[in-house]
Amino acid sequence: MIGRGSVHLPSVLRDPAAREGSVVAGEASEAVVLNVSRRSFVKTGTLAGAGVLVLGVFGCSRDEASDAVERAIATGDSDDAVFRPSVFVGINGEGDVFVVNSRAEMGQGVRSSVHVVIADELGADLGRVTQEQADGDPKYGDMNTDGSTTMRNFFDQWRTAGATAREMLIQAAAARWGVPAAECTAHDHAVHHVGSRRSAGFGELAAAAATLEAPADPPFRPREEWRYIGTAVAGYDNSDIVTGRARFGLDVRMPDLLYASVERPPTVLGRLVSFDDSAARAVPGVVDVVALPDAQAPVAFGALGGVAVVATNTWAAFKGREALVVQWELGPNAAHSTDSYRRTLEASASAAGEVALDEGDADAALSGATDVFEAAYWVPMQTQAPMEVPNATAWFKEDGTVECWAPTQNAISAREAVAGYLGLSQEEVTVHVTLLGGGFGRKGKADYIVEAALISRAVGAPVKNTWKREDCTRHSYFHAPSAQRITTAVGADGMPTAWRHRTAFPSISSIFALDVVRPQVFELGLGALTVPYDIANVRVEACEAQAHVRIGWMRSVGNIHHGFAVNAMAGELAQRAGRDQLEYFMELIGPDRDLSPRFGERGAYQEDLVRAPFDTARLKHVLRIAAQSAGYGNASLPANEAIGLAVHYSFGSYVAWAVRVRVEDGDWSVIRADGAIDAGTIVNRDRVLAQMEGNFIYGLTMARYGELTVTDGAVDQSNFFDYQFARLNETPEVSVEIVASTMIPGGVGEPGMPPVMPAISNGILQVTGRAVREVPIRVG
């Protein structure tokens, strides 16, 4: 997570009792209990052990049930492993390697990458490596799958896990053969001694390796020996997905499961006054109606309160909700409306804020300048809108423990939240992680899991809590609406000599602390402090903005609005100077240099700036490549088309887009998009391409449709007719180049997003001559 240091966690999320280990065992009921390892399933009355998922045969045939189990996402039981040198890897007597994936799979491709890293370091055949999904447990380290952190933080950890196993297998073989370990190698799923032409498979060595002491600092395999890393590896869950066997959170089933849906107050911190559930209880299938406790400030990851309808199927729960008559007290945020709020933010960004970066003397340069140019930018509130709505299944048992199954980006935080809000110890809470049908930041907050646990406790049965699409749209942790004003002093050559960036948006930290009333440093680091231009006088100011809805992380976070404004301003300056965008941007970024000193050893993304400095040469390189791929400068385009450029550094990676736009009939469209990414060392080439493609579409959606509004504290939009996504017929051809690099891995899931909108707007600017300063982008 970004800038965690500046986020104040409420006491409920700081559980001093948190300690390692001890996942509460799954309990078997009378029903068929199935061990969901991909390799086996067993029928038994009771089954103890961490991570046993209880799946029901309720309502489906035996064949369907066993099929469901075989294909269900496996959790970390791995009971046949004889050799477990790490929490991340194990090997059984047959040589089957399993990898425990502790990171959430939400489409970014970790499950198509984690085994790649470990297999290469180990010398395993990729086809003999299976995966299991870790339950929430601190023994795996950080499980918060956001901030594009997985490869940045786990590449070396996973290599260490693989190397440890490899060295121990080699030692076991060397001891067996009476040869020096240094003469042995591990590849093709076996250890080899060339001199004596002997080989032994991993399976036959596993038991012996398990008796050895793990090496303290196993060497990494040289890059030249990598067999899979950097290649295109097939998606691990492909077959399950296209046959309907992949199990997302929404697909969890078990005996005696009840289905719940919650009617929540329309405003944050709204309170339940009274409700009449007589009609709801009359809906066939409804079994109970439960009032949830009102939300408390700060809201953190707590539930929003409201009334839960519990039924024998999801539809009955939805129908029951419609039949509720509820009286709310709208509370402290009821006066919040987007129209007036926008004016407030724009006024805030027009005055001095708290100075967060001050190089040279921007104020003096601006006051002494003969040519001052400024522009104000507006990016509305957005929501992540994963295709799979928030949902969770929880089972509060008679012994006071609770077991949860959820599509969560952060199983440890979910466990803390459920324990904290239900007054349990963490040892009493188990969180199993399913596949996520998209996350984009939304599923890093456990409010929907807390709800499920509260409802299960109230009704004494396992409960699946399903949000409606309308709930997902209205009750998110939203991407903050923002007003920004960038003021420049422009020299006679058209280049800026001063840059003052004022940015006003409600902070994510506001969900944790009531006294946070302006953007925090960790949020300014996302695209504002990282302005890469060669300007002598630079000042960045954080301007006041009160939060009236829940604010949260959304794919690329502050880079969404900062990347837009910083790149759009560059486009406007180029236009004003009558210069070509590519040539101007290159000059604006300036000489090759290291911008890291602004941040020290750790940047805004907690990236390692010692091993991988923030390097303007890499930034310019991706811009040049994207422009070349697009035929920038060569193509003779119709007068209503142009190729717009933008380039941005985020999450340790560098991305540029060159987007050919067309303006006609008062609207715009994208004809073609060419991207380039330098993410350092990459693991699964195909997933990097996929993330770039997906980020382009995500940005295109925001550029065309991205706007949520609020009236009287409640979000106005609800479903895909008023919060739209780009569709296939709006999708251009998307082409991506990956820069070959041996630098440490950068992020991949998010960095492709920030330059999308400004590349589009910089293209439109060239066609129309009019600046684009607002999202959604309109012409005419």
């Binding site: 309502g59 489906c60 369907e64 049930a65 799979e105 489409g107 970014q108 097939a234 998606g235 869950d237 492909n238 997905i241 296209v242 046959t243 309907g244 066997r245 992949a246 199990r247 997302f248 929404l250 089933r253 809906v283 066939p284 199927n313 999801t314 539809w315 009955a316 939805f318 129908k319 809108a385 994963p386 295709m387 799979e388 709505v389 996520l436 049908g437 998209g438 996350g439 984009f440 409606k468 997933r687 996929a690 993330q691 493609e693 997906g694 980020n695 579409i697 295109l700 959606t701 479903n719 895909f720 007719f721 996504f725 780009a726 569709r727 296939l728 017929n729 999708t731 051809e733 998307v734």
Partner: protein
């Protein structure tokens, strides 16, 4: 609650449900076929697409009382062993990211391809744009359908 006998993937299922219960929730909650996904509940994302007598329909908009004796095919029943040309191409091109919408994407394509076996690129855009994907897998969906159509016609073997 009423009793209904449904024919799903060539198996007969007896279910008890309120007449207005969408086929989606009957499949998912009562029969246990969870490959068909809920995305919006109003027919705008088509994650819930199934074939009813061979035609693609959003199952969230199909009350169980209106299904009758018609044959329902879900993603689980599209092919014997996951080898429908669309499924093969989805795998070969690594179309899926999170994967949540992909069953609906495939069922939509299977539905209209059966009536338009040689689609133009414009046809693909027109017929497939009823389905939403938040991950942005559209470029690969387009290519997968294009190639699968050729393969189904025997031109790409």
């Amino acid at each position: 609650m009423e009793s209904y006998t449904l024919r799903v993937n060539d198996q007969v299922h007896d279910v008890e449900a309120a007449p207005d219960t969408p086929l989606l929730w009957v499949l998912r909650d009562l029969i246990g076929l969870t490959g068909t996904k809920y995305g919006c509940g109003v027919g705008l994302c088509r994650s819930c697409t199934v074939l009813v007598d061979g035609s693609a329909v959003p199952s969230c908009q199909q009350p169980v009382s209106t299904v009758g004796t018609r044959s329902v095919t879900t993603i689980e029943g599209l092919s014997e062993s996951g080898d429908h040309p669309l499924q093969e191409l989805w795998n070969e091109l690594n179309v899926s990211q999170c994967g949540f919408c992909q069953a609906g994407q495939i069922m939509t394509a299977a539905g209209w391809l059966s009536e338009n076996p040689a689609p133009s690129d414009e046809d693909i855009d027109r017929f497939q744009s009823v389905n939403l994907c938040r991950c942005g897998t559209y470029p690969r969906i387009r290519e997968a359908i294009r190639t699968a159509a050729r393969r189904m016609q025997g031109a790409d073997r």
